[in-house]
Amino acid sequence: MKTIFTTLLLILSMTVCAQEISVNTKFGKPTDEELNLTSYTQETNAPAVILCRMTDIGYDMFNGNIKIVTNEKVKIKILTDEGKEYVDIKVPYRKTDIIGNVKATTYNMEGGKLVKTKMPNELLFREQVDNDFMMLKFSIPQVKAGSVVEYQYRIESEYYGSIATWYAQTDIPVLYAQYDVSIPEWFKFKSEESGTHSFEKKVSSTSMTFHTKGTEVNVSGMEYHFVGRNLPSLKDDDFVWSVHDYCNKVTFELGGIFIPGSTYKNFTQTWQGIDQTLWDNEDFGGRLLQSNPFKEEMAQAGIAAISGKKVKARAILQLLLQKVKWNGKYALWGKDAKTIVKEGSGNNADLNFILIAMMKDAGLQATPVVMSTRTNGRIPLTHPSLRFMNTFIVGVADDNDEMFFLDASANYGDINILPSNLLVEKARVLRKGTGSTWTDIQRIAEGKTETQISATLNADGLLTGKATSIYTGQNVFTKRRAYKAADDSATYVKKYADNNDIDITDYQLEGAEGLSDKATQTITFTHQNNATSDMIYLNPILFSPFKENPLKTDKRELPIEFSYRDITTTTIRIQLPDNYEIESLPAATHAADSEGKLIYDLALRQEGKTLVVDQTFNVKQMFFQPTAYQDIKKTFDTIAEKSQTMIVLKKK
């Protein structure tokens, strides 16, 4: 009931909005309303708005060959000078595709008269991008603030089994977007729509006729029709991993092909089928059969003698990373071990295949855990598909039947300590036969930082102390990467001191090198507080999670995604100078979202001559709905505000 109600509301609110400017799906004849529009009411600062976009996908036959044909038509209204860039168009296509029917027209009102400018062919460019891809570029002429621009193109492709995901939203608002897909019964596709705005959808059966080699082929099929209206602009930001996860979109996944006269080809529709595809593929299953190229090195390093599966696995990864380098890329398919060892570097798949071979050699049960990285986006829920998967990590069975994870890209990590991009909710543990299962990598997505500070304050306001921070879980990776990335440790220390408003006289980071599950930072520092002859004004909040709220906007439409669950605790003990007393201590602070998933606590107390500060910042979940935004922002505000806490000490 609830869903029906919301849908109704949505439709109602849409009709109300839609009165602002009416949709004109005709091309070649912009309405006065379209021509005279000066700003888009729903988003007044939009530089341009897509008035109408129509994507039509269908099939055709040429000389007996089936091709998939895409016709794209777009009508844009340019509202500001900045908006002119939306008519420099780039269309990627395969080398084997035929791209044509490229047309563009600009409509301008000049002195009350409609002036139409067609794009001449001289503004059309085709460039080779790499061995497989080309890029069509065109710049539409006579575009000014106020122009209505229409363009279209057509792509014929022999890859008839693949329909690209249709993204209805972009970084400018869309008034109307229509997607029509007609598929002959020879192809079985599954479709899925997702996004926060609703699509109008119609599916009907139809019949189609193809003319080829002088004959006529009649076939029945399905027609899909989607319409999105008043879709707001969608801009990527630093608080979500993949903005496409939240984009209104339609995907089509091929299930099977049945062309009369040929045998039915079944395409992967089940995860078991996908598993098998991977096993059967030379660049995946084939790589899993390769032998360990570092047999000798492992023997020399005495790997066999190491007891404890995790310790052994760590030693193996460490050895691998000494021999070959990760090139910064993620992939699903790998090259053969020999080539990789010779070249000395590869993507994570290349290296992980070798890692698995090494593990097996050492008697460990290692298997690929296939996933779509967080920046690549979540995998669709309803239809199994390999094309969304873009990498795998290595899972190893521990004694207690639990599985631990490693990856060749985790050069700053350890067992179960991985780059945050790999901490996905759903990954597939690949096992022979029907034994594959789903696993949640986010169960290891936890980090912890514990800091103990003991310091002494003198009558001049100078605070001198020592701070020890212990990083565990994913925080080891984060800390080590930051430190190693700076390369020059002096630069790192300087920046760290500046960020925390202290002067550092000695800095040590234990566990900075190699793989381990813990890093310990020890620093000696000073911090000058303001003081007069009988007063000291002390800011005791050293190491605040942040001094400035990173969330700055009033509203937010997208969710907020954290890298991992993270708990930071800081205990500060400050020895106060003799003959001084604290005027008053601020009350304890507690800030949290309504669900209690993001919590900040600060408490100050006096124990004899010692001031004790306890600070905890706990992010208990990784995903927050946009509705939690105000709560989170408020909590962050409190943290920033409390980082400025002042205590007054008065001479007795």
Binding site: N45, D81, K144, F239, N327, T491, M535, N549, S584, D637
Partner: protein
């Protein structure tokens, strides 16, 4: 934690990576042999062996070569070996990847490339390649064995052989005279350069640019042929003749259009008003678009094409503006300039020194310099990439090397006044006013261009006011300033937690809202002198209006931090429940001894610390 926070770390990574001192790459051996056959054709063979010592030098293992209608890569062999001499990778010409794709613009040609990630260090990369020019050329290959920071040169040679009848000109930087020999061999002249042991150059803040420090030799034929054109480039004047010829007949406009331009400007009272009218017309009817085809990217599109399409690159738009001005009887000159280098070599003309085109409009009172690719700038504004730069003005008399003017010190105002009306709960209403003129205008121009919503968004970021409620935002050109653009920018805002409360007291930061500040990076054992390009002075006044019943209990003392390079005058005073903080700073342009850098750092850190202090106020 969040992606944003990780992002900060990564930005910082790139910075520190380039600040770190040392040597990352050693050019063990580099040999460049150039054989010129005639004005159409030469052949160049390069053999280079480098040792990459660590990851920061890894890009030295990559190779890229761009081809076009004049040049072709005929051979390429790359051999990569580790410290023991074991072969890690072999690459041949056919193994190179290629692309025509260029993310920004359309241009002729394709790029052949090879990228490699060394698995171990040190590593040796031996590259041998050969290319030919066969359709004319403007210059010979440049001798520049090092092009990056932290690259040491052990041994590098260069040989150029040219038929006796071809006159050659040259220009050297940082190459001792005794490294160069010339001789005549039969019907050929020969130049030889042998350079040994040139130390690695490190990045240092405020140091001379890398190109000023590295050894470089330029050679070019005096007379040249190039893609069916020919000319002489002995001097900038000669270059101007060639460029002028390339533009001949490209400023024709259709008669009707010319008439409409005349009608548009008929009512203008002055020449300058006419220019302004056409400049506005250019803004409204065209856009910048980089299409670099044609003669090596030096021939502008015809004015009628730019008119027909409503777009063009810098050459096309400039030439179009020139043609429109001509139609209304104003002569203007096409002017070639570099946005990267302030100075061109007066005694060595060369097109690789320039990358941009602007328009010179000599008017009776003053000369206007027009940037045609960014018409949001006020007419004639000397933006930072052209102000004070050398340029070549092209006329029928050839090219003339001139220097563009720049705004004077008294024309460059940077002054702000903020009134902070503090409330008892630590919140405040802030009225901020800024006045920016001359070269500083550019940095604040966005305030004029944006709408209030966007301005508020930007202000929250720049002024670090996450919870600000903007009551009023207003940006206005100073109309009284005709010659020097200036903007008055004011905003009024309600902010939370400007001050911290503790019992009866309130702690107010000395600098509660953004004021200009420097940030300098440490650089140990500095080798280069300090270069300050321009004078900079600013004044920031902050008036903190205390809430009723509050008095100042403690505040920092006024201070003056002075050095040869810069003065910072920080004063604080209180009267009538208003605490006034005045931050004045003046940095003087010039070249200073490298040892002063430590002084500069200390001074800078003192100022930063002063600004972080707090004023303590107390309820009476």
């Amino acid at each position: 934690m969040m992606k944003r926070i990780l992002l900060v770390v990564s930005i910082w990574y790139t910075m520190s990576a380039c600040f770190a001192a040392g040597t990352d790459v050693i050019v063990q051996h580099m040999q460049t042999d150039v054989m010129c056959f005639n004005l159409d054709k030469y052949n160049c063979k390069v053999s280079r062996t480098v040792t990459i010592l660590n990851e920061k030098g890894r890009k030295a293992a990559n190779f890229a070569f761009s081809t076009d209608r004049t040049r072709k890569l005929t051979a390429c062999n790359i051999l990569i070996t580790d410290a023991n001499g074991t072969t890690l990778k072999k690459v041949k010409r056919n193994d190179l990847q290629s692309t025509q794709y260029n993310p920004n613009m359309v241009a002729d040609g394709a790029t052949y490339f090879f990228t490699y990630l060394p698995p171990t260090y040190p590593i040796n990369v031996q590259i041998e390649y050969e290319y030919t020019y066969s359709n004319g050329f403007l210059s010979f290959p440049t001798f520049s064995p090092a092009t990056e920071y932290n690259t040491e040169i052990k041994h590098a040679t260069y040989t150029l052989q040219v038929p006796n009848d071809i006159e050659v000109r040259s220009k050297m930087f940082n190459i001792p005279d005794n490294c160069i020999t010339t001789q005549v061999n039969g019907n050929k002249k020969q130049w030889d350069i042998v350079l040994d042991d040139f130390p690695a150059q490190q990045y240092e803040p405020l140091a001379p640019t890398l190109t000023q420090r590295l050894p470089t030799a330029h050679f070019a034929p005096v007379k040249f042929q190039f893609l069916g054109t020919s000319g002489n480039m002995a001097t900038w004047n000669d270059f101007g003749h060639w460029q002028y010829a390339l533009m001949q007949g490209r400023d024709e406009l259709d008669g009707n259009f010319k008439n409409s331009l005349r009608m548009m400007t008929d009512t203008c009272k002055t020449q300058k008003d006419k220019v302004r009218t056409l400049y506005n017309f250019l803004r409204q009817t065209t856009r910048y678009n980089s299409i670099q085809l044609g003669i090596g990217g030096w021939q502008p599109a015809t004015a009628s094409d730019v008119h027909r399409l409503g777009m063009g690159d810098c050459k096309g738009l400039t030439n179009y503006m020139k043609a429109m001005l001509k139609a209304v009887g104003i002569e203007a000159q096409y002017t070639v300039i570099s946005t990267t280098y302030k100075h061109l070599f007066a005694d060595y003309a060369g097109l690789t020194q320039t990358n941009h085109v602007i328009l010179q409009v000599p008017l009776p009172q003053d000369t206007l310099w027009i940037e045609c690719t960014n018409p949001t700038l006020p007419l004639g504004y000397l933006h930072e990439d052209i102000a004070g730069h050398d340029a070549i003005v092209i006329t029928k008399y050839g090219g003339k090397l001139i220097t563009l003017p720049e705004y004077g010190d008294d024309e460059n105002a940077w002054s702000t006044t903020s009134d902070i009306y503090l409330k008892e709960n630590g919140d405040a209403r802030i009225v901020w006013q800024g006045y920016f003129s001359g070269q500083h205008y550019e940095q604040w121009q966005w305030t004029e261009l944006n709408d209030n919503e966007k301005n508020a968004e930007q202000l929250r970021d720049i002024f670090r006011l996450p919870n600000a409620k903007f009551i009023n935002i207003n940006a206005q050109q100073d109309e009284t300033q005709q010659q020097i653009p200036a903007v008055h920018f004011t905003f009024e805002v309600e902010c939370r937690n400007i001050a911290t409360l503790t019992g009866q007291r309130m702690f107010v930061p000395v600098s509660p809202i953004y004021t200009p500040s420097n940030s300098l990076t440490e650089s140990e054992r500095r080798k280069n002198n300090i270069i300050i390009d321009e004078n900079f002075s600013s004044t920031a006044i902050t008036n903190i209006h205390l809430p009723q019943g509050f008095i100042v209990e403690s505040m920092p003392q006024s201070t003056i931090e002075s050095s040869e390079i810069t003065d910072s005058n920080l004063t604080i005073s209180t009267a009538n429940s208003i605490v006034t903080i005045k931050e004045e700073s003046m940095t003087r342009k010039g070249e200073y001894d490298k040892d002063l850098y430590t002084t500069l750092l200390t001074q800078n850190s003192k100022v930063t610390k002063w600004k972080k202090q707090k004023i303590v106020i107390k309820q009476q």
